[in-house]
C-alpha cells in the first residue's frame, strides 16, 4: 500500500503520517488522533479509525480487537450552531 494513500478524508491525513506517529511512539488510536488530527473532521473518524487501528495492530503485534478506539463524542452528526441556538422549546 502506497504511503501517499489518504487515510482520513476529512483532514487529508496520509498513511505516511500515521506511520510517522507510530514510529514516534504513539501506541493508541487516541494519541494518533490528537497528534495528527486524523479522525477530527466532520465524519469523526468513521472511515479512518478502523484503518488506523489496522496500522497500529500491525506495528504492535496486537489484534485490532485488543486496541481501544478513541472516545465517541457528541454530536453524533454535525449540527448547525443555529439549530442548537434555537433551543428545544419548540420541538
Amino acid at each position: 500500500m502506497s504511503d501517499d494513500i489518504i487515510i482520513c478524508r476529512c483532514e487529508d491525513i496520509k498513511l505516511s503520517e500515521i506511520r510517522d506517529c507510530i514510529e514516534q511512539g504513539d501506541r493508541t488510536t487516541e494519541e494518533i488522533k490528537r497528534n495528527c488530527r486524523c479522525g477530527m473532521g466532520p465524519c469523526q473518524g468513521r472511515t479512518c479509525m478502523p484503518l488506523v487501528a489496522q496500522e497500529l495492530a500491525k506495528a504492535t503485534g496486537k489484534t485490532v480487537g485488543e486496541l481501544e478506539l478513541p472516545t465517541f463524542r457528541q454530536p453524533v452528526a454535525a449540527i448547525k450552531m443555529s439549530a442548537l441556538a434555537g433551543g428545544g422549546e419548540d420541538d
Binding site: D26, R27, T28, E30, E31, R34, N35, R37, M40, G41, P42, Q44, T71, R73, Q74, P75, A78, I79, K80, M81, S82, L84, A85, G87, G88
Partner: protein, 382 residues
Amino acid sequence: MTKSADVVVIGGGIVGCSTAYNLARLGAGKVILVERGYLASGSTGRCGAGMRMQWGTETNCLLSRESTRMLERLPELLDVDIDIELKQGGYLLLAYTDKMAAQFKKNLVLQKALDIPARWVTPAEAKEIVPHLNTDGLIGATFCSKDGHCNPFKTTAAYAKAARRLGVEIQTHTEVIGIDTDCCQIRTVKTTQGDIHTPQVVVAAGGYTKNIGRMVGTEIPIHPERHEILVTEPVEPMQESMVMSFHHNLYCQQSPHGSFIMGIGHPDLPESFDIRSSWQFLQEMATRLVEILPPLAGLNVVRQWAGLYDMSPDRQPILGQAGDVEGFHIAAGFSGHGFMIGPVTGQIVAEQLLGLPTALPVGMLDAGRFQRGDLFIEPSVV
C-alpha cells in the same frame, strides 16, 4: 522494577514537561516524569489552546508575558523541529458594563508599564478587528495583538522531546499509586510500573493533585471542575482574533486549522472528575455565541469534549513546597490558565526546587497563603 531518581515529576502536561525539561537543564540530576495516560492527555490537551497577556495582576502579566516570549521562539529555544502552530492574532476582551470597562482600563495601565502591547478599542475599532462582531451594548474592549494560539499537544511534545534529549526519562501509562515517606522526607514513589526511590517530587497533576497530596498526608486545596468546549468544521480564515467576554462568560477563537474552538464558564460547577460531555452545553454555548458573533450560526459543530480545571481557592496556581514532608513540591491549581503560563512556570518550579533565584517573583503563590489569609486575587478570569 525499582528505579532511582533525583526528582520525580508527576504529570505529563505542559507544566510537568516544562518542569522536567528545566530541571534537567539546570542540573537536577536524574529526572523521571510519570504520566498516567499519554502526554497532554489531561487538562493540557483539553484546553482552549489560547494564550493571553491581558491580566489584571503584575504576577500573571509577567508569567504570561515571559511565556509568550518563550512560545514565540520555542522550537529554537528547545532546539526541536516541532511546529507548535503559534498564531498571534490577538485577544479582544469585551467590556459591557462601566465597572468592567473601569477594571480593563486599570489593567491597561499595569500592562503598559510591563511592556504588554494592549490597548483600549472603541466598539467601531473592535468591529474592524472582528468584522462580524455584534457590538450592541458594547462599551469598548481591550486588544493585545500578541495574544493568540498554540497547539497544546505540539507544545507539550516539544518540551518532552527536549527533556528526553537532556536525559529525562518519560514513563507514560504509569500511574502513581502511593508515596512512601520516612521522617517527613519523601523516599519512594510507587507506580503501576514499579517503585522509584527519590528524595524530591513535583506534583503537576492538575485536578488530581489533591489525591497525590493525600498520599503524604497533606491536604492540597485544589479541586477538579469540569469545563466544556466545542469545535466546528474548518472554514476559511474569517476571525483573526480570539473573542472573550467575561460578561457572557465565553471565549471563541478560530484556530490556524480553520475550525472554531469555543467554551463557556459556569459560576457554580460542582467538584467532580466527570469529563463527559453534556447536551446542555451545546445549547447554552450556541445561544450565547450567536448573539455576539451572529454569522457563526451557519457553522456545523463536529465535536465537543470536556476537561478539568484544577481550581484553587483564589483561582491561582500553587507553586513550591507544600505541607510538612520535605521534598514535596506542587505546581498545580492553575484554574484554567496553566497552558499559557506553563513555559516559564516550569522554569520557575525547577529553580525553586534547586534553590536558585527564580526568573520572576512568585513567593505570593506559595502553598501557605491560604492559611495566612493572603489570597491572590486576579480580576480577569473566565
